[in-house]
């Protein structure tokens, strides 16, 4: 199987796996326990906190471990909105946010908050000037660092600067960006930043919310004082340890890997144009992640393309999935104003650490074949 779905999840780094196995073998105590066994477990967590903080140039005490991107987005958006409720009951999110942010906004809406949406341009990013036009009672603005479907990098620093001038806080979902592009939490200026371990070679089920010192935040999960009172619940020790090691390796490899992936992405895009001259690459003129290509193949349905590629040994992803599992047009592409005929024929290719030049060449031949098969099926089916 040629795996081109690294934005969904990427294989765990061997060093992270080894560290987790060692942790599961050696560290059995509760990190909150006062005895020295507990203190050993605590030390492993604090080591990982430093490693994760280093990846995004944050301070260790700004790192809150939690279960992953979805929880991080909920904690940040809801926790910040609650903490600033006296100032206003309105938050703003970009139209191209991950489902998790839309979900968190829904929770707020249920409790009487209003939601403002920031539109995306045709190239897939939010215009920072929109911040100046937001209603004054907006307390938090959510803007992701890089879009999971298109890879388009958002002008978070510009948005944060304008937000700060108006006394608004910024939440940045950096799940898809972390480990792929350099992140400096200070320079970015976001008050809340979410990253997830399994997108950068760590295990699933662990992530972190980086809360800038002084940023207001109410906890969602309460009842105990874990994570400095910001997230109750006994820590996912092995997950945190694996996350830390993965973050350290991702940081060390970042520059070289980025160069390598940009080269592979260029080859992929050339190959896609050879396979289908009319291919449309979404967000191609915007700054993008080095590993992500979202392309539409007019006349071929996404679900057919995905099935055809899967049958031929290439794993990719297509649009969004509805409750039944059927593929539906991506809301991100719709938000960019992509015509429905193109949106229903889009595929996301995402490269990663394990992707090789040779694999990519083989994949391109199979993609050409799959596009032909999907087009002839789609032509037969109205």
């Amino acid at each position: 199987m040629i795996y081109l779905d690294h934005n969904a999840s990427t294989p765990i780094r061997p060093e992270a796996r080894e560290a987790m196995l060692a942790c599961l073998t050696d560290l059995h105590a509760n990190p909150s326990s006062a005895h020295r066994e507990g203190q050993r477990a605590r030390a492993a967590i604090e080591r990982a906190r430093e490693q994760v903080a280093a990846l995004v140039h944050a301070l260790p005490d700004e790192v809150v471990f939690l279960s992953g991107g979805t929880e991080g987005d909920h904690e940040a958006l809801i926790g910040a909105a609650w903490a600033m409720e006296a100032r206003g009951r309105r938050v703003a999110i970009s139209a191209i946010e991950h489902h998790a942010v839309h979900g968190a906004a829904e929770v707020l809406e249920r409790t009487g908050f209003s939601i403002e949406h920031l539109a995306a341009t045709a190239e897939g990013f939010v215009d920072p000037r929109a911040v100046d036009l937001l209603p004054r009672d907006v307390t938090v603005i959510a803007l992701m660092l890089a879009n999971n479907e298109t890879g388009v990098i958002q002008p978070v620093a510009e948005v944060a600067e304008r937000a700060a001038a108006r006394g608004m806080r910024v939440h940045c979902d950096a799940v898809q960006a972390a480990g792929k592009i350099p992140i400096d939490a200070r320079a970015l200026g976001a008050d809340y930043l979410v990253i997830s371990a399994h997108k950068l070679g760590g295990p699933k089920g662990i992530g972190a919310l980086i809360v800038r010192r002084g940023a207001p935040l109410e906890p969602l999960l309460r009842g105990s004082g874990h994570e400095r009172g910001r997230r109750g619940g006994t820590e996912n020790l092995a997950g945190i340890v694996g996350f830390g090691v993965a973050a350290e390796h991702a940081a060390a490899e970042l520059d070289a890997e980025r160069e390598r992936l940009i080269g592979l992405r260029a080859r992929l895009e050339t190959g896609l144009r050879d396979a289908a001259a009319d291919v449309v690459i979404h967000g191609a003129r915007a700054p993008r992640l080095p590993n992500t290509v979202n392309a539409s193949f007019p006349g071929a349905r996404s679900d057919h393309l995905l099935m055809a590629l899967d049958a031929r040994g290439v794993a990719v992803s297509a649009g969004a999935a509805c409750a039944s599992g059927a593929v539906e047009p991506s809301p991100v592409l719709s938000a960019m104003g992509v015509a429905r005929e193109l949106a229903v024929s889009a595929l996301r290719f995402s490269l990663g650490r394990t992707t090789t030049q040779d694999e990519l060449e083989r994949a391109l031949a199979l993609i050409a074949e799959a596009v032909r098969a999907a087009r002839s099926a789609s032509a037969a089916i109205p």
């Binding site: 349905r301 995905l306 599992g325």
Partner: protein
């Protein structure tokens, strides 16, 4: 894979036999969050059941969006038929367009050579070696009637692993293979109308207004004997719910959409010597000669009756039965058999001895829609 026992076991048997399988469930209907009957075959739970068969047997499974095609090719004709006073048989259209149309077209996508379904029917060979659609071994479960509109070319590309099995054997296989769905109840109704209330579904869920206005119930002489509640609530041969009592039981004899009238009469008046079809879908290499003797089945539960066929213009045929048949219903299928072999099938246009209905949508009905 609908999520039912039959398609689940059919798939599992093929996987067990070592075939390289790809599971597909067509998403025909937007399920939303509406609770449907557990017997319905198109719910989210049903998709989960299909997926669990795929996981247990170790083959990939996909849910494929087919809502638009289902609406255009199955639901809309279903509505149009009811509005025109016919009694449609949507399963045949679904088989024709979705299962043996679109899924066949998707075989190359999945890199597959054969389409496997859980239908009770068999594929055989005729004297010339061409594929033939045959009745199932289990007469109680035989679904060849519902398959009669499938494209002839599809016959060469399908497999029906359940065709030689009885239903209890199918369940036994399901149990042996530890499929969670092995003892699921049978689905008796249309998959998209799980509670069997067609009229309620058509008016409430689909917002249909044609065929819903009250109109006259007449006897055979044209005398008004009552008022009906909208023609879509009636079908030829129906006895219950007419709301008119006479000296003998009354049955619906005919529905005239142009006049919005329902004609009723005694059971004997349902007998007709034959019928005229719409253009026939032949499942033989060339259509049979005029006068060919067949047995013809005019509804799912009908026992095929001996008849002779005569070609008409435009690919339709006239079917003349040796003995008159009761309740020949426009919109239902007429399927022609030579022994166990299905020769072809078509929708019933009208019974012989009954006035042919207006071909197009009656203006009076359309105006009210």
């Amino acid at each position: 894979m609908s999520g039912g026992v039959d398609s689940g076991v059919a798939a599992a048997l093929m996987a067990e036999a070592g075939h390289d399988l790809t599971g597909v469930t067509l998403k025909l209907w937007c399920y939303g969050k509406t609770p449907l009957s557990p017997r319905a075959c198109c719910t989210l739970d049903a998709i989960a059941d299909a997926q669990s068969v795929a996981r247990r047997m170790g083959f990939p499974h996909y849910v494929v969006e087919a809502e638009e095609v289902f609406r255009a090719r199955v639901l809309q004709p279903f509505l149009d038929d009811y509005a025109a006073g016919r009694t449609p048989y949507p399963c045949a259209l679904c088989n024709q367009h979705l299962k043996f149309g679109d899924l066949i077209a998707r075989l190359d996508v999945a890199g597959a050579g054969t389409l496997v379904t859980g239908h009770y029917a068999r594929i055989g060979r005729d004297a010339a070696g061409a594929p033939a659609l045959l009745r199932a071994a289990d007469p109680a479960k035989d679904q060849s009637y519902a398959l009669a509109l499938m494209p002839y070319a599809a016959l060469a590309r399908v497999a029906f692993p359940l065709g030689d099995l009885h239903k209890d054997e199918v369940r036994a296989h399901g149990r042996r293979l530890r499929l969670s769905l092995w003892d699921k109840p049978e689905s008796m109704d249309l998959c998209f109308v799980p509670d069997g209330d067609y009229a309620g579904f058509i008016t409430k869920n689909l917002g249909e207004t044609r065929g819903t206005s009250p109109g006259p119930i007449e006897d055979q002489e044209g005398r008004r004997v009552g008022t009906h509640r909208g023609i879509l609530r009636y079908t030829v041969g129906q006895r219950r719910g007419i709301g008119v009592t006479a000296g003998e039981p009354l049955y619906v004899l005919a529905i005239d959409a142009a006049r919005d009238a329902v004609t009723v009469g005694p059971k004997a008046a349902l007998d007709r010597p034959g019928l005229v079809t719409t253009p026939v879908n032949w499942l033989v290499s060339s259509p049979p000669a005029p006068g060919t003797r067949v047995t013809a089945k005019v509804r799912y539960q009908h026992h095929p009756a001996p008849a002779a066929i005569e070609p008409l213009d435009g690919g339709a045929i006239e079917v003349r039965f040796d003995q008159p048949q009761s309740a020949i219903t426009p919109g239902q299928l007429c399927v022609l058999y030579d022994g166990d072999r299905v020769l072809g099938g078509a929708s019933i246009a009208h019974a012989l001895g009954a006035a042919p209905p207006a071909a197009a949508m009656p203006a009076a009905v359309a105006a009210r829609a």
